[in-house]
């Protein structure tokens, strides 16, 4: 992999104390357990993984919303884990975050307009009118209207709130956006709009995106590279295409197998994982996935695999080279002929309307560039 | 939690010393001469000078302070200039009275104020809300002396149900003791109930709209459980703050009520002591109430951690 590294994590660890009894040792969750990452300028980097494996924690660490227990995060040549508060604050206009929970992360006392305008004020961008215009513009882009600016978060639906969070992150024109499930609460049409916006921005300004998402279709669509996490560790990092078509870690394979397909009928493969989920406060020794891995051998129970370079990717599995794993095949042959015909009609109608087709990148809602 | 408490108690010691310096200094700044008060109708200069020497009132103030604190650390808080009674003994005499009154008043205040506040928030805008508010605010505006005297006139003089005033130690006759203190506790309690009610109402209004209250309702829980277990619990932070402060104030500040019901507690003692410039007594009581306030603050901080588990991480 070439290109400039914009964000780099080294040996990041973060633990939480969940219970501290009067006597005896505290119970500790290693939410993130030794993560090394390099994110390249301009790429879209996705993090996927089992719920609770530490994705949100990792994302928070990357922008130092929480302090790491160990390790360092480098942005632009500086270790942001060591940065003084002032410098860190200035940095935040470059480094934005979209929160997983859209409601609790919006101040109930502020209107949506004020919430979106706030980062602009904070970083001294524009005068009052410019900011107002920009807020209106942002609202429009995310599929709301300028009139929504005066409403309060609780008056919005879940998806609408999520979009407010996205608009907020976009406001300062950041260089890196870290999105903690930025589109999962959105319906597919809005999701499509937002994904398009993000891609346009990427194209226009070399925005770097780090996305956490559960919807692998979206990830496949957006991501350049994907990291798969399991129990606080990264088990595989690979270019999206490669990861989806030819996974090299058994957990990745399991994930892919579980993707629901928008076609009526039962799921494609019933490759459900067996065994209980391991306890994160007492992770299994050796390979953390061995308790649920159908390919596990004795070695996996004792020896902990490290992330190894494999052509074009990194995998943490002792048998990465030898295992024969299945990825995703085929596109959306899923759709019925009549449905496909309707889709074509629809596209045609929109084209005729003077609108845009999927191949011409001039979606009306993203026509203007964000600057 | 234990570590937290331990740490807080350790910090409390310098705080108490700080408080005692503060109060000592303030007292010494007051106009008025304790010896002049003590001398009374016979202002014999020789005697006055002797008393000044005896109580070391001629020493520089820091020296006076260190003498006092030195003795205090050995458990000697000095004697009352007015009655010559040792201050420790005095405190031992008054503390149970004061605490009993404060606790009874607080119980009354809590048992009126919180349910009223919950109800009024729940029924916001209805007549129930209006009545609860009007009653609470009149509880606040009716002066304690007025309520006190009216109660005495009604309950003791006309009906003869309860003794008009005085104090019976709890150890003497628990029932009688509680009965005697019922009226003053009620008078104090109603005043505080108003404050608690208004805070409860306000906090509940905020919480009642939250999603988790909706969740609780979705579980089919009875309104009572929803209100108390889910809503009230999350509304408790300001209530706890106010309650702990009020309790602290009850210990020291129930002067008027103590006066009217002739309850020999801290409030009256400290007022008399200040008026007589009986500095050892003032210091002694301040020490006590200071400890009480610190204890209350520790308690409040501990309660916050229980009530709002996230505060621990902050």
């Amino acid at each position: 992999m070439s290109g400039d590294i914009i964000l780099r994590a080294e040996g990041l660890k973060r633990s939480f104390v969940t219970r501290k009894p009067l006597f005896g040792p505290a119970t500790v969750v290693q939410a993130v357990d030794g993560v090394d990452l390099s994110i390249l300028k301009g790429e879209t980097f996705a993090i996927v993984g089992e719920s609770g494996c530490g994705k949100s924690t990792l994302a928070r660490l990357l922008v130092r919303l929480i302090d790491p227990s160990e390790g360092s995060v480098w942005y632009d040549g500086a270790d942001i884990a060591q940065l003084p508060p002032e410098a860190l604050r200035a940095l935040r206009s470059d480094l934005q975050f979209i929160f997983q929970d859209p409601f609790s992360s919006l101040n109930p006392q502020m209107t949506v307009g004020a919430l979106i305008e706030e980062p602009l004020i904070t970083h001294g961008i524009g005068d009052k009118d410019e900011r107002r215009a920009r807020v209106d513009d942002l609202l429009t882009r995310i599929g709301l209207t300028p009139a929504h600016a005066d409403r309060y978060p609780h008056e919005f639906s879940g998806g609408q709130r999520q979009r407010v969070g996205i608009a907020r992150a976009l406001a300062t024109g950041p260089k890196v956006i870290i999105g903690d499930e930025p589109v999962s609460a959105l319906d597919v049409s809005i999701q499509a709009q937002v994904v398009n916006i993000l891609e346009d921005l990427k194209e226009a300004f070399g925005l770097t995106l780090v996305v956490i998402a559960h919807d692998l279709a979206v990830i496949r669509h957006m991501a350049d590279r994907v990291a798969v996490m399991y129990l606080g560790e990264i088990v595989e990092v690979a270019p999206a295409e490669g990861l989806f078509t030819a996974p090299r870690h058994p957990y990745t394979e399991t994930l892919l197998a579980a993707i629901p397909i928008a076609r009526v009928g039962p799921r494609r493969a019933k490759a459900r994982i067996e065994g209980d989920l391991p306890n994160p406060t007492a992770p299994p020794p050796g390979c953390r996935f061995h308790t649920r891995c159908s390919h596990a051998q004795d070695r996996c129970k004792t020896e902990r695999p490290t992330l190894r370079d494999l052509t074009g990717r990194q995998v943490a599995c002792h048998f990465a080279e030898t295992l024969d794993l299945t990825g995703l095949t085929g596109g959306d042959a899923a759709r019925s002929p009549s449905a496909r015909a309707r889709f074509a009609l629809y596209r045609a109608a929109r084209a005729q309307e003077g609108g845009i087709t999927a191949s011409e990148k001039t979606d009306s809602s993203t026509k203007e560039t964000l600057s | 939690m234990l570590a937290f408490l331990g740490r807080r108690i350790l910090i409390a010691i310098p705080t108490i010393i700080l408080i005692s310096i503060f109060v000592f200094g303030m007292q010494k700044l007051l106009p008025g001469d304790p010896v002049l008060v003590m001398a009374g109708e016979d202002r014999n200069p020789e005697v006055m000078e002797f008393l000044r020497e005896k109580y070391r009132l001629n020493d520089p103030i820091p020296v006076q302070y260190f003498t006092w604190i030195g003795n205090a650390l050995q458990g000697d808080l000095g004697i009352s200039l007015r009655t010559q009674q040792p201050v420790t003994e005095l405190i031992g005499e008054k503390l149970p009275v004061t605490i009993q009154l404060a606790i009874m008043a607080l119980i009354i205040a809590l048992s009126i104020g919180i349910p009223a506040g919950v109800l009024s928030a729940y029924k916001k805008g209805t007549w129930v809300d209006w009545i609860a508010n009007l009653v609470a605010l009149s509880g606040l505006s009716i002066p304690n002396f007025w309520l006190g005297i009216m109660l005495i006139l009604l309950v003791s003089v006309n009906l003869g149900w309860l003794p008009a005033s005085g104090y019976r130690p709890l150890t003497d006759d628990p029932l009688q003791s509680i009965l005697t203190m019922l009226m003053p506790a009620f008078v104090l309690g109603t005043g505080l109930a108003a404050t608690l009610m208004r805070h409860t109402r306000s906090a509940m209004l905020g919480v009642l709209r939250s999603d988790y209250v909706r969740t609780a309702r979705a579980k089919g829980l009875s309104e009572q459980v929803v209100l108390i277990k889910h809503a009230l619990r999350n509304a408790l932070v300001p209530i706890v703050t106010v309650t702990t402060l009020l309790f602290g104030e009850l210990l020291a500040g129930a002067v008027l009520t103590e006066q009217i019901f002739t309850i020999p507690g801290f409030g009256k003692l400290i007022v008399d002591a200040v008026f007589n410039r009986d500095y050892a007594v003032v210091q002694g009581i301040v020490l006590c109430t200071g400890i009480a306030f610190i204890a209350m603050n520790i308690l409040a901080d501990a309660a916050y951690r229980v009530l709002s588990p996230r505060m621990k991480d902050a």
């Binding site: - | 008025g32 002049l36 009374g40 016979d42 005499e93 003791s156 005033s165 020999p264």
Partner: protein, 481 residues
């Protein structure tokens, strides 16, 4: 039977040699006998001393003592005990009785029950002093054991002995069986309960939680009178209330009121004393213009209580050079009655062009400001003494201990000093009259009224006799069934 008495305040230390409060004396009346006592008419009568005689030169006082008296701790009462008591009063460092007994230079036991006091100079006031705290006999054994802490557990020879005291709550005394006059004592126990609020004190009496109370508020007199289950007794006190003017105490005296006696007289004339008595005290007290009440034999009848005369007051002001009126500041203790009084005075004075600015102060501040001369005028009073000297000498003589106005007039000094050494009533009266005549002119204190002690009692209480000294003497008092 028990008797419960409501007091207005909590007494201070219960050591006759150290105490200073009026309520303390009420407790002593049951706890500690004195060498002599007074009648309601202020005649001095025997108590522990069965008789006494003066030498002709007035320098020796010989007292015979009552036989068979013992202190509560069993120590016998005799000449030695008296001598020890005098010694304690005079020589204990903390004693507040020193000046009261300063005339005694020696005391000797003539025999077991006779004691002879030698005086440095004739002292007309001595017997009266011995009728009060200075004459209270405490057990020498207990006193020497307890020293200054005697007050925590006082031992005297009165009708009741000390049981316990809880500050601000109660003082409990119980009958002393060996009391020399035990037959006239009808109670097993006396409880003194300090209840500062007058309304509450009365409510306690009404509800039956008290049997009697002292210092009923004047405003409650009517309602008590109307209440068939209560009785009321009163006696005009020995003291007075007035406005003490700073005439020479530091430079704060430099103001029209302090510098000019005409202004003081004008103020006095502007005040309608009988209206004050009506408005503030419902007519229960006595208007006054001298240190003694008009009923007192020592009252100077040449200067009756003046009526209000605004014109005269204005004229005086004009004459003094203040035709446009004056402004004076008066400090007043922060109790409601005194404040009410002074607001009435304020309103009256204003009509004569004397603009009074009131300054409420809590008592300790007021007292220290007053003694330090940091005041212009001060509304204070005096609880009164049996002997006239006690009401005037220390206030008006140049070196008087409580002369906070720093009034100084050699003629007055001479008259008052000579009045205290004569044992002849007529001579003394002449001196006082002369002094009072001067004081009416100079007016360092503007006397306003004489308080009346008012007791309210349950109808069951029999045989209570009001005394002008405000004490509660329990001999002969009983509860009817």
């Amino acid at each position: 039977a028990d008797l419960r008495i409501g007091l207005q305040e909590d007494p201070d230390v219960l050591d006759p040699d150290q105490s200073r409060t009026f309520v303390g004396r009420i407790v002593y009346a049951s706890l500690c006998d004195k060498l002599v006592d007074i009648t309601p008419e202020l005649v001095i009568v025997p108590q522990l001393a069965s008789g006494w005689s003066w030498s002709d030169d007035g320098l020796e006082l010989t007292m015979t003592l009552r036989d068979g008296v013992t202190f509560h701790d069993g120590t016998p009462f005799n000449a030695e005990a008296v001598i020890a008591n005098v010694d304690r009063s005079q020589n204990m460092d903390e004693s507040r009785r020193k000046s009261e007994l300063s005339s005694i230079t020696g005391a000797e036991a003539v025999d077991d029950l006779t004691v002879k006091f030698t005086l440095g100079a004739p002292d007309a006031t001595l017997l009266a002093q011995l009728a009060d705290r200075a004459g209270m006999m405490v057990s020498p054994t207990a006193a020497s054991e307890a020293g200054v802490d005697f007050g925590l557990n006082p031992v005297c020879s009165g009708p009741f002995k000390f049981v316990e005291r809880v500050q601000q709550d109660r003082i409990v005394l119980e009958k002393f069986a060996e009391y020399w006059n035990a037959d006239s004592i009808n109670f097993d126990k006396v409880l003194f309960l300090p209840i500062p609020d007058t309304t509450v004190r009365l409510a306690n009496l009404r509800s039956g939680d008290l049997d009697m109370l002292e210092r009923l508020a004047a405003t409650d007199v009517t309602s008590v009178k109307e209440d068939g289950s209560l009785q009321m007794e009163q006696a005009v006190s020995l003291g007075y209330q007035g406005i003490t003017v700073n005439v020479a105490n530091t430079d704060r005296a430099a103001n029209p009121l302090g510098e000019n006696s005409a202004v003081r007289r004008a103020l006095s004339l502007a005040i309608d004393r009988s209206v004050i008595n009506q408005v503030v005290f419902e007519g229960a007290f006595a208007a006054g213009n001298q240190p003694f009440p008009p009923t007192s034999p020592w009252y100077n009848k040449d200067f009756p209580v003046p009526g209000r005369d605004i014109e005269a007051a204005k004229a005086l002001l004009e004459e003094a050079g203040f035709p446009d009126g004056v402004t004076v500041e008066v400090q007043v203790p922060n109790n409601p009655v005194q404040m009410q009084l002074m607001q009435v005075v304020q309103a009256m004075a204003a009509e004569a062009g004397i603009n009074i600015e009131l300054l409420a102060k809590e008592f300790a501040t007021l007292l220290s400001d007053q003694s330090a001369g940091a005041y212009t005028a001060s509304q204070v009073g005096w609880s009164g003494r049996v002997d006239p000297d006690g009401n005037i000498h220390q206030f008006m003589t140049t070196d008087g201990g409580i002369n906070d106005s720093h009034y100084s007039n050699a003629e007055v000094d001479g008259l008052l000093n000579s009045a205290r050494v004569s044992n002849d009533m007529a001579t003394r009266k002449k001196d006082y009259d002369a002094a009072l005549a001067i004081l009416q002119e100079d007016m360092p204190i503007i006397y306003l009224y004489h308080q009346a002690w008012i007791w309210a009692l349950d109808e069951k209480v029999q045989g209570f006799v009001p005394y002008p000294d405000g004490m509660i003497r329990l001999e002969g008092v009983s509860l009817s069934e």
